[in-house]
Symmetry: C2
DNA sequence: GGATTAATTCAATTGAGTTGGTTTAAGTGA
DNA sequence: TCACTTAAACCAACTCAATTGAATTAATCC
């Protein structure tokens, strides 16, 4: 993640009036984003700010284009409130998924709606070539008509791990030429706007936190089926990256004694069985196609190879879910990634009954396991959510 | 933990001048606590507050007895700074470990030093009896001469899980009569000061965060050998409890296929092998004594039963350490609890070489695994650290 | 149409940090 | 010894942003 070049202060910094205002702006914006159209005094009640303070901040945010008036609501008595909502056209964020062979770009507005989408083949994954192609893709995506002009930031998802020098770790899948590069700096230079670099699972989790199942959860996990298997962790509403940015490395957990050999040097690693890549391998061996659309069709046709993979993966993943629940006690666990929605649903179904864990409680509102809302653009959309989180989310 | 009766606001609250001051007071206090004696302008540099703001806050904190002047430091040129340090006698916190058969009470001053310690047998673990005994123990402990008068709060460690109704979960070890009780409220009523209730592992982690190996780590784990095996998790400097307060339930991870039966209904659970209780069981079967002191002696004598347990436990725990590192990417993992220091050290040693994980990096400063600093009073001392964290730690 | 109710704004106040200048307590060096 | 330098700390005026209490506005109720 190229974060923490010097470990951050071990103690918080002091505050002042300006920081208070900045914090309160975020609080107001986030409150409106989450609760939909609200009047000024609704906001005041929710944030525990005074009506006057909210009034000032709302005026400011509306003038800057982040909030928009939505007219008066009809109420029983008294002056009806003027509702405000986030102005979708108040700005955009970009999300990019940089894979070994292609770059996927999305533009998302402040309402979280997809406004543009592109994919380009990447022939040369070296940093200069990626810089050039990414810049061109972003420029071309922004050239479409009717898009908000303001670009608030760009999130980039790419194979990690990054940053930590001398990382001789498990599952090093970094792109050629990017091993000792400050990816965020390289991409910021290329794109000309603030860039946040993240791994696919964490980005997906952030996307889910802003727009999906995680909207109402402060603590949850996202199990991401990509080339490998990744775990995105949200703690107190914010992504958890660990002391060195490598948290959530779940793919190399040993689940089969003496199982298949893995690139990490071990055997029986989880992601050698339960990952998009493992499925593709299996389909390939059986002479079947491996594109997402083809997999979706295979699932419709109840293909036995695919069904077998689902059953096997579910059998391996079930205990892992229980383990995650016991360790993190998440409000929910979201499944998603580079697999068709129907296959994710089948996996969720095949994992029942889930093992006993602290998550097994009477009267749960949220399901222990659910599919993510954002579909196959999950990673890119999650990437687009990163700058928004940076900009809107106040510290709790 | 009897927290979150209503899930807290999903968005932060607004700030104002008073909250800013409260935050800055914490920042100053915590900075001095961590860095030892500091002059006002040192504090200003570290906190990024102005010297004037620091001066005002320091004056206030000194008047309240939290900080004390330590005289002028000798410097090269210019007016030498007046150093301030945390005033040990500025207040105390109490820590209580309530077990099925006894209550251990400690009093700790603001410097983290143990000032009083008591243990009393508990014949009746029902809430009223515990209330009466705990109140008497706290009163008697405070009666000693020369103790600071001010009691800032009390942390209580007791067998969980609490709070969540209908919890039909793994390893329910709650005391008889406490199943559907708001433990924090009961103990607050009994002790007449703010009470934080926590499980042993999390309390130990907080103690380590304030005074031990976790002082310089924002993210780390504490593996606690108690009756069972607990995991305390510190994230961004604060204890992580999960969405429902049950995070860190590591003891029932299956590590031996078809292994020993466990109270949770499963087989081969980790804590049936690697826990103080499992060791006691094993020693008992061999006709050996099971008190901590006796275990320490057995270890000195290189007793083969104990040595066998250490080897076996280390074999089971090693992969678990690797798993935790891959999931949490902690700065370090601390081992501690109800075992003699020498045995913890032997366990750490027996786990080498640790498995490959993201924590295996060149140039580590902190060890991947280390013994906790607080010895066999770990749980009670950790409990005493809880109110201090509540009071001193600013949000990052 | 006046009374009631609730949202919002206006104007004055307050709390807290910042700014710029001043004082204080040392060491330096002629 | 005494003016000079340096850095810490303080003083007083200022500014920012939230709060407070009163006034205004826009609806419904009767």
């Amino acid at each position: 993640m190229t974060r923490l070049p010097s470990p951050p202060a071990l103690v918080a910094l002091g505050g002042n009036a300006e920081r208070t205002r900045s914090h309160n702006r975020r609080v107001v914006l986030e409150t409106v984003r989450r609760h939909g159209p609200l009047g000024r005094s609704d906001i005041a009640a929710l944030t525990q700010l005074t009506a006057q303070a909210v009034s000032n901040i709302v005026t400011e945010l509306a003038a800057e284009g982040f909030l928009m008036e939505r007219g008066r609501r009809r109420t029983a008595r008294g002056q009806p409130p003027v509702d405000f909502a986030v102005n979708p056209d108040g700005g955009m964020t970009a999300g990019m998924e940089i894979a070994a062979d292609r770059i996927t770009t999305v533009l998302v507005d402040l309402a979280g709606d997809l406004r543009a989408q592109r994919t380009a083949a990447l022939n040369d994954p070296s940093p200069p070539a990626v810089q050039a192609l990414a810049a061109a893709e972003l420029r071309d995506a922004r050239a479409a008509d009717g898009l908000p002009g303001r670009l608030l930031g760009c999130g980039v998802v790419m194979p990690g791990p990054f940053g930590v020098e001398g990382m001789s770790s498990v599952g090093d899948t970094v792109l050629p030429g990017w091993a000792d590069v400050d990816a965020a700096a390289v991409m910021t230079e290329a794109l000309g706007c603030p860039v946040t670099v993240e791994n696919d699972a964490t980005a997906a989790a952030v996307g889910e936190r802003l727009y999906g199942a995680g909207r109402d959860c402060l603590d949850f996990c996202f199990l991401y089926f990509g080339a490998g298997l990744g775990l995105g962790i949200v703690v107190e509403g914010r992504p958890y990256r660990g002391a060195y940015g490598n948290a959530g490395e779940i793919g190399h957990m040993r689940v089969v004694a003496g199982g298949r050999a893995c690139a990490c040097g071990g055997r029986g690693c989880l992601e050698r069985y339960a990952s998009a890549h493992a499925l593709a391998e299996r389909l390939c061996d059986a002479g079947l196609p491996t594109t997402p659309d083809a997999i979706a069709r295979l699932h419709e046709q109840r293909d036995p190879v695919l069904a077998g993979w689902i059953t096997e993966s579910a059998g391996l993943l079930g205990p892992v879910i229980g383990l995650l629940e016991n360790l993190f006690d998440p409000a929910t666990i979201v499944l998603g990634g580079a697999l068709p929605d129907t296959v994710i649903d089948a996996l969720v179904e095949a994992m029942r009954p889930l093992p006993l864990s602290v998550s097994q409680r009477d009267g749960r509102k949220t399901p222990r396991l659910q599919r993510g809302a954002t579909g196959k653009l999950t990673a890119a959309l999650g990437a687009a959510a990163l700058p928004l989180l940076d900009r809107f989310e106040p510290a709790i």
